[in-house]
Amino acid sequence: MSNQTTDQTNEPTVPASPVSSGPGNALRFMRSWRTAGIGIPFLVLFVALSIASGPFLHAQNLINIVDQQAATLCIAAAGTLVLVTGGLDLSVGAIYGLSTVVVGNLAQHQSPFVAISVTLAVGLFVGLINGLIVTVFKINALITTLAMSFVIGGIALKVSAGNLIVLNLNSNFYKFANTMVWRVPSAVLMMLLVVIVLSLLLTRTTFGRHMIASGGNAEAARLAGIRVNRVRIITFVLSGGAAALAGAIDTSRLLSAQAAGGGNTLAFTVLAGIVVGGTSIAGGEGSVWRTFIGVLFIALVGNGFVLEQIDPLYQQIVLGIILLVAVGLDAWARQRRR
C-alpha cells in the first residue's frame, strides 16, 4: 500500500488540486515513517554489524540468517494479513508444532509429496476452524486462537506420542528445504515466494483492499458490500497454511520434529516481527515487506549478539524495548490521526 502514496501525486491524470498544508504535515511524516519505517534502523544495524564484526558480511552468514528465519518469515507474512484484517492469530506456534510432527510421521513412510500435502491441508483446516469460530461465533480472535493453540498443542503431543521424531538424511524429504539453487537453499526461495505472493495479494488485488477495509472499519466495509466475515476467514486459513508450510520447511531443514519444538514462543516472535515492521495492531493498515524487514531486524539483533558474544540475557531486554518503541509509535500515529 505504501509506495502508491508517492507515485500518485505525480500522476498526470489527477486533477490539479491544492496540496493541503499544516495539519497534514505531522501525519504525512508518520505515513512516510511507516513507509520507510523499519528500513532505516535495519540499514543502520546492518552497516553497524558489517563494521563491528568481520564474519557478519560473509554471504554464508547472511544466507544462514535468512534460512533460519524462513519459517518465521512465512508465518509472519500471512500473520500480517490477519492483523491488517483486524484479527490476531496466536495459534501459529501450535499449528507449526503440529505440522512438524504430522509431516515427520508421514515422511518416514510416505512420499514427501503426500507428507507435505497432508500437512498443508491440516494447517489450512485449523485456520478454517479459527476463522469460523472468530466470525460465526463472534469470539475474540485473541481468545479463540489462544484456546485453539492449547487444543492443537495437545493433538500434536498425541500424534507424536510425546516422542522426538528423527528423519533420515538420505530421504527425499530432506531435499524439500535443502536443495541448493546458486548457494541459496530452497527453504529461502519458498519463503520468498510466499512473501512476494502475499505482498502482492495485499497491495495489488481487490481482495487486498477488502482486507484493509475490513480491518480499518468493518461496519463501513460491510455497508460498502464487502463480505467481511469471508475475508477474515480466508486470512485465518492463509495463516494456518503458512504455519504448516513453515513446519514442513523446518522439519526438512532440521530432520527432526517434536510436538513442542520451538512452537511455544514462535507466535510471539512472529507478532513481534510484524509489529516492529510497523503494521498496526489495530488493523486496517500494514505491509508484508515491512514485516519481512521487521522479522529480519530482530534476527539481526540476535545475530549481532551472537557474533559480538554478548550475554543473550541482554538480547531479550533489547527486543522488549524495540517492541515497545514500535507499538508506542503506532499508538502515537493513531492518536495524531484523530
Binding site: 500518485q8 486533477p15 497534514g24 505515513r31 495489488r204 483492499r209 477488502h210 484493509i212 460498502a224 486496517g284
Partner: protein, 513 residues
C-alpha cells in the same frame, strides 16, 4: 490528584462564581480557524444559548469554557479572577461542568456510582456506600428524578443516562452547566422534563450554557442567544426580541430559501424503481411505499421514529421479519448489503466516520471500495484505471482540497461526505438512500450536497433522503413520508409540504394506510 486537593478546591467552588467573561478568544485547529475573536459574558441565573450551523464553532466555544480546549488567544475571567483551564478537571474545580453530546456514562457502574464518579464519597480511601445512597436520595427528591441508584447505568435509556449526567452536575453544585445538544436524543415528554430542569437550574442561580439545534427550544428556554457563524460571533441578543426567522438569518447569513436548489419534479408517470411492501423489522412496523425514477422522497420523523431502521431493512442490512422489497421489478432477496448494491440499491449511512469511511486510508481507496471490480480484472487492480475513474468522480462530486492520496481523515466533514457520494455514484445505482447526508457538514458544502442529490435524481435515480433537520427534508423532497413508532403517519405532496403538517404528523397517533 489526591483526595485532599480536590476537596480543598471544591469547598471554594459551588458558590455561584459571578460572571464568566470571555474576551477575544480565538482557537485554531492545525491552522484552520475554528473561533475568531469571541467576546461574551455568561451571567449566573441565566440560560445562555449558542446557536449556529454545524461547524460554526459553538461546540468549540463550549469546550473552551469546559476546559477541554485551551484558547490560542484571548482570556476567560470568572467573577473578576482570571481563569486558566487546562483540563475538564480544572473546569470542574471551578464549578463548571459539561453535559456533552456524547454521554460520559460508565455503563458497567450503577447510577449512584456514576453520579459520584470522580468525587466518590469515601472515608480513608474506602467507599461509603450508605452515605452515597443517602445523598443520592436527597438529590433525587430535590430535583424530582425517579432513578434507582442501584440500577446499572448501561441498561438505562439515553434520556435516563442523561439524567444521571445532570445529577452528576448538580451533585457538584456546578455554578456553570454547559449542555451540548441535550435534547437531541430525547422523546418529546423527556424534552419537556429536561426543559423544566434547565429552568430550575437557572432559577437556583446557576448559569446554563445551552447548545441546541432546535430553535423553538432555544427561544422558549434561553434568556440570551449568541449566534455564531464560521467561527465568528454574529450577535448576542435578548431572547425576547428574537424570532425563528431572525435566528436563521443570523446563522446562515442569508434567508432560508436560497439554501436549496430548485425542485425538479419527476413526471407522475415515471416508472417505479423501488417498491417496498408491508416491510417489518426491528423498529419497523408494516411499511409500504414506492419511489419513482427521478423522484426525491423525504422521510421525516422524530429521532427514534424508525427512519434509519426502515432504510437499513430496505438495504438488507437488518433482519427483515416480514414483507418484500422490489427493485426495478426484481425482488431483493439477498441477506447481505453486497447483494443490494449489486442489484442497484446504495445506502449512504448516517454516520460517515463509524459506518462510511476508512478514515486513515486515501481518498482513492475510499471512493473505489464498493466497486473495485470496475477497476480490476480477475481480482487484480489496475491502479491506472482506478486513478482515472476516481479522479473523474472527485470532479463530479466537487471534492476539494484533496489529492487521490490524501487520507480521508484530513478532509472537512463536507468533503468526507462527498467521498461517500462519489462511492455511490461509482455504483451507478437506480435507487440511492441518503441517511442524514449533511450531518456535521459546513454550510457551503451542504449546498453542494443538495445539488448532488438533485442532480442524481434528475439523472434518473430514485432518491430517498432522511434528515433530522426538517428544513432539509422540506427543501429537497418532492414527497414526504412521516414516520412515528416505526410506521408512516402521513404522506405529503405538493402544497401540503410544510413544517406544521410534518410536525403534526410526527406526533400523530394516526396510522397511514
Amino acid at each position: 490528584m489526591t483526595n485532599a486537593q480536590t476537596n480543598d478546591v471544591r469547598s471554594t467552588a459551588g458558590i455561584p462564581g459571578g460572571d464568566l467573561v470571555v474576551t477575544g478568544v480565538s482557537k485554531r485547529f492545525g491552522g484552520v480557524p475554528a473561533l475568531t475573536d469571541i467576546s461574551l459574558t455568561i451571567t449566573p441565573g441565566k440560560v445562555h444559548a449558542f446557536i449556529g450551523e454545524n461547524g460554526a464553532g459553538k461546540s468549540t466555544l463550549a469546550k473552551i469554557i469546559a476546559g477541554v480546549y485551551t484558547p490560542d488567544e484571548g482570556s476567560l475571567t470568572l467573577g473578576g479572577r482570571p481563569l486558566t483551564l487546562r483540563s475538564p478537571r480544572e473546569a470542574l474545580d471551578n464549578g463548571i461542568i459539561t453535559i456533552a453530546q456524547e454521554l460520559a456514562i460508565v455503563p458497567g457502574l450503577t447510577v449512584a456510582e456514576n453520579v459520584y464518579l470522580g468525587s466518590e464519597i469515601a472515608s480513608r480511601g474506602f467507599l461509603n456506600r450508605r452515605e452515597a445512597h443517602r445523598r443520592f436520595d436527597a438529590l433525587a427528591t430535590r430535583i424530582g428524578f425517579d432513578l434507582s441508584p442501584d440500577v446499572v447505568a448501561g441498561s438505562l435509556s439515553i434520556a435516563d443516562q442523561q439524567k444521571v449526567e445532570i445529577m452528576r452536575a448538580l451533585s457538584r453544585n456546578a455554578s456553570i452547566v454547559v449542555m451540548d445538544e441535550p435534547s437531541a436524543a430525547l422523546s418529546s415528554q423527556e424534552s419537556v422534563a429536561l426543559h423544566d430542569i434547565i429552568r430550575s437550574l437557572a432559577q437556583r442561580g446557576s448559569a446554563v450554557v445551552l447548545i441546541s439545534h432546535f430553535l423553538n427550544e432555544v427561544l422558549s428556554l434561553a434568556d440570551t442567544i449568541s449566534t455564531l457563524r464560521d467561527g465568528h460571533l454574529i450577535s448576542t441578543v435578548e431572547a425576547t426580541g428574537a424570532t425563528t426567522e431572525s435566528l436563521i438569518e443570523g446563522m446562515l447569513g442569508r434567508s432560508l430559501s436560497a439554501a436549496y436548489p430548485e425542485k425538479i419534479l419527476a413526471s407522475a408517470d415515471a416508472p417505479v424503481v423501488l417498491t417496498v411492501s408491508h416491510l417489518s423489522a426491528a423498529g419497523v412496523d408494516d411499511c409500504s411505499f414506492e419511489v419513482r425514477r427521478g423522484e426525491i422522497l423525504g422521510i421525516a420523523g422524530l429521532v427514534g421514529a424508525g427512519r434509519s431502521e426502515l432504510v437499513r431493512a430496505v438495504f438488507r442490512d437488518a433482519k427483515v421479519t416480514q414483507g418484500s422489497v422490489h427493485l426495478n421489478g426484481r425482488q431483493l432477496s439477498g441477506r447481505h448489503p453486497s447483494e443490494s448494491i449489486a442489484q442497484g440499491l446504495v445506502l449512504i449511512p448516517e454516520s460517515r466516520k463509524q459506518m462510511g469511511l476508512l478514515m486513515g486510508r486515501s481518498v482513492m481507496e475510499n471512493i473505489s471500495l464498493a466497486r473495485l471490480d470496475l477497476v480490476g480484472r480477475f481480482g487484480w487492480l489496475s491502479k491506472h484505471r482506478e486513478r482515472v475513474t476516481v479522479a473523474a468522480l472527485m470532479e463530479q462530486t466537487t471534492v476539494k482540497g484533496a489529492t487521490l492520496a490524501t487520507p480521508a481523515t484530513m478532509l472537512s466533514g463536507g468533503n468526507q461526505q462527498k467521498l461517500l457520494f462519489a462511492r455511490s455514484m461509482m455504483c451507478s445505482p437506480s435507487v440511492l438512500i441518503a441517511d442524514e447526508p449533511t450531518r456535521g457538514v459546513d454550510v457551503g458544502s451542504k449546498r453542494a450536497i443538495y445539488d448532488l442529490l438533485v442532480q442524481m435524481a434528475s439523472e434518473g435515480m430514485g432518491v430517498i433522503v432522511i434528515s433530522s433537520e426538517l428544513d432539509e427534508v422540506l427543501g429537497l423532497a418532492h414527497r414526504i413520508l412521516v414516520m412515528r413508532h416505526g410506521h408512516f403517519t402521513a404522506e405529503l405532496t405538493g402544497d401540503d409540504i410544510n413544517e406544521s403538517n410534518v410536525l403534526a404528523a410526527a406526533f400523530s397517533e394516526v396510522r397511514l394506510g
